[in-house]
Symmetry: C2
Subunit: 172 residues, 2 copies
């Protein structure tokens, strides 16, 4: 009888702990995955496959006009998504609002960008940017002096260019 | 003996529940109050009392140069803090990254700004911006065409201008 009682209470204890742990986990998962609730801007429109590898969404913030001559917007890159190679006639300012990304100026090493980082892209310089293979990227862009034009799109960034540390091992 | 055993186990159960509940609470408090952990940019430097009422902190993101002719930064306004009246020779783009604020162009009603909102301030137009009396404001600014200058600072925004709905009732 005494043994039965101890067994019942042990099961009860175990259940209580399990329920508590489950509550903790579901809370952590919520705060970790539901990032859209905290997003500053709407996701925007899917960028065309001719200019992006993977899914990148553009949300326009300031349309070009002859008063500011400045174009501003936000791009949300899903994990592994990146732009093609491209250039801007007056350069570009990139500001990382969330997540983590890569940026590369042609001829220089790939640079990993963190939340809060600002990148000044020189005029007429081939470059690409995108999310990492581990994290999405939310990135604001500013195009100054738009009287000179916006962007010239070029060829896609290959897997080897995107992730030069990944070695392919042939058939084995 | 049986009663003693039940008592001990009851105390153990109660303790387990209390510890679990406490973990839950401390987690909620963390995610609710520690907003500086989620801030995109550092708080920056306190703006001078000659240009601001209350505490407003500026963090420069892009310094002016002759390549972009664009100045970019972030201001964190504490609750009730606001700029003086001022104007920009080429206008200003304001982008609300967090919290809630007020913006007013002279001669127009005060406008309440929400997270994600973009405000285009015309050139040479007297205006002010700041947090509300309930919420702080994190606000990015872009000054285009800086070859024309940055800002002309003017007189403080009075309490009546800041909050025209607050009525003073004299002595009673």
């Amino acid at each position: 009888m005494k043994l039965k009682l101890i067994n019942s209470i042990s099961v009860l204890l175990l259940l209580t702990i399990l329920i508590c742990c489950d509550r903790d986990n579901s809370q952590s998962q919520k705060s970790g995955s539901d990032s859209s609730k905290d997003a500053i801007f709407p996701k925007g429109e899917l960028g065309p496959a001719t200019n992006f590898t993977g899914n990148a969404y553009n949300f326009g913030l300031v349309a070009d006009d002859s008063i500011y001559n400045t174009l501003v917007g936000n791009v949300y890159f899903e994990i592994n998504a990146r732009s093609n190679w491209h250039l801007h006639p007056s350069g570009q300012i990139l500001i990382v609002l969330d997540g983590e990304g890569y940026h590369q100026l042609e001829g220089q090493p790939r640079h990993t960008m963190k939340k809060g980082e600002v990148i000044k892209v020189p005029a007429n310089t081939r470059h690409w940017h995108g999310a990492t293979e581990y994290n999405s990227l939310t990135q604001m862009y500013i195009l100054p002096k738009t009287e000179n034009g916006f962007v010239t799109w070029m060829e896609p960034v290959t897997d080897e260019q995107y992730n030069p540390t990944t070695k392919t091992n042939g058939n084995y």
